[in-house]
């Protein structure tokens, strides 16, 4: 039995009378790079929202590393090691690139008001450490030159890189990437993919991403999960999935699977 870092079991999410997620079950293997695909409206992003705590599930079970994270608030899930990025990149544009990174520093005593009254040196010390780690990460992502610039002045692709680098400040065990390559030029896109592979190789981080670009899915994922109409309809290796008739039907007319 493989070792699942994320287990989703029979999760449901309703909006009014509509079932966006209708009993979805999946498992993400630790240390894998898994792609979540499916036609528009399949419920992929909604599933991300539910798993990461941004939407409240209406039923089912969700476990991270064997511990339930069902209906936990989003910030608590992030603290447990599950970090996500967003389809519409959420970098803080009015803050500097460096500040974006520093914000993500976990368990920072300086973020508690009481620290500044009782032991301000602890706050200052952690800030120095965070700064060093942030610059290190920014260098890895080739953004160090922009450290002091407003994040809003970066290009769209650079902001996606920043969002990923920022997420890494939390040393997550599982990263959920919501369409990481959307709107990114091919060069930066390749960089992003390289970083993803490095992460898995060097840190053992598990990655789950939603993508529409089939070439990326075919060549860069170990495992593919297919959703349609709020449910998981198939999973397996990229090759297996591509030959699966149910999958082809779900996509009929929408995407040509090469």
């Amino acid at each position: 039995m493989s070792d699942a870092i994320l287990e989703v079991d029979g999760v449901e999410k309703r909006y009014g009378g509509v079932r966006a997620i209708d009993g979805a079950s999946l498992a993400v293997e630790r240390g894998s790079i898994t792609a979540l695909i499916g036609p528009n409206g399949a419920g992929k992003s909604t599933l991300f929202d539910v798993v990461s705590g941004f939407e409240r599930a209406d039923g089912g079970a969700i476990k991270l590393d064997g511990r339930s994270i069902y209906r936990l608030p989003a910030y608590a899930i992030a603290r447990r090691g599950l970090v996500r990025t967003f389809q519409m990149t959420k970098t803080l544009n009015v803050m500097s690139v460096l500040d974006n990174m520093l914000l993500a520093s976990p368990d920072h005593p300086g973020e508690r008001l009481s620290t500044w009254i009782v032991r301000p040196w602890a706050g200052r010390r952690r800030e120095r450490d965070a700064r060093a780690r942030a610059l290190h990460l920014l260098e890895a992502f080739e953004l160090a030159a922009h450290a002091r610039a407003y994040a809003g002045t970066l290009s769209g692709g650079q902001r996606k890189l920043l969002e990923l680098a920022r997420a890494l400040m939390l040393a997550p065990r599982l990263v959920l990437l919501d369409e990481p390559l959307a709107g990114v030029n091919p060069t930066l896109g390749r960089r992003l993919l390289e970083h993803i592979e490095e992460l898995r190789r060097d840190e053992g981080t598990t990655l789950l991403f939603v993508e529409h670009d089939m070439e990326v899915v075919m060549n860069h994922s170990d495992h593919v999960i297919v959703m349609a109409q709020g449910r998981v309809i198939a999973e397996g290796s990229a090759d297996e999935v591509r030959r699966n008739e149910t999958v082809v039907e779900a996509y009929l007319g929408k995407v040509v699977v090469a």
Binding site: V18, R19, A20, G43
Partner: protein, 335 residues
Amino acid sequence: MSAISPETTHDENLGAERVPTALLVVVGAMVAAAVVLAITQGAQELAQATINGLVSGSYFALGAAGLTLVYGVLKLVNFAHGEFLTFGAYMAIFAQSAFGFPLALALPFAFVTTAALALGLEAVMWRPMRRKGAGVLQLLLMALGLAFVLRNVIQLVAGTEVRKLSANVTSSVTFGGLHIGRTELWVVIVAFAALIALALMLGHTRLGTHIRALSDNAELAETTGLDTGRIIVYTWILAGGLAGLAGVVYGASIGVITPNLGFGIVLSIFAAAIIGGIGDAYGALAGGMLIGLVQEWSTLVFPVNLKVAVGFGAMILVLVLRPQGIFGRARTAGR
């Protein structure tokens, strides 16, 4: 049992067949409260308070209807709405003193003039700000500033002395030991007539359907080729007109008209709109009645001066338990 794609989240149950469970819960709670009050405070007292509640509920509903229409179509929380009521009341006074209009004519005069004011503000302030892409905070603060300006302009022009509409405030109609003032009876009739007309318009005319479509899902509605500009104009006409009517009706009911008239009840009107589900006109009716009844019933138990505070308390309670209000829909999926 197939799931529909979240893209088509438009709730088909838009019509009268939909009775939200929330409404049933609220009605149930009200009935239970009524029974308790009847037993502890006396059925006669409860009945009189209920009549008073229906009177105030009707002008709250009238005020809330305009507010909620503007919110639904424009997503704008118009803090200056209370001033529309004040303006309407003063226009009625003006019509009576300058032209000698009877109250029956002063009403449509107030409707028309307040609608004109609302349209003027849309042209001069709201539309240019929308074109500029103004943010929520900007609009909120502008509305606040506008409320301030309008109230003080009225004070500048008309002064602070108390005025009255010439209406028969002393005689009352009695039945079964309960009384309702003639003016107040008239208030309820006018308000209900206006609200019924509004409900019919919204449910059965093309404009009404367009307004509801726009309130429900602006993006979807625009793609179907609706002339949003025109609908916005009509919405302001309705909102301003109804608010003007509400002002006259409220002023006639309490008998005392000052520049603070609208501001004094604007929070209760907000409470009514929010409780009903802001953006939903039927909600304004329900919410208005609810706030009116809650306020008047509370006088059986709490000091009279605190009834408005009790109304706010009810609003806060609803916001905590069900932020979308009775008729409102929970946030729908975007993807």
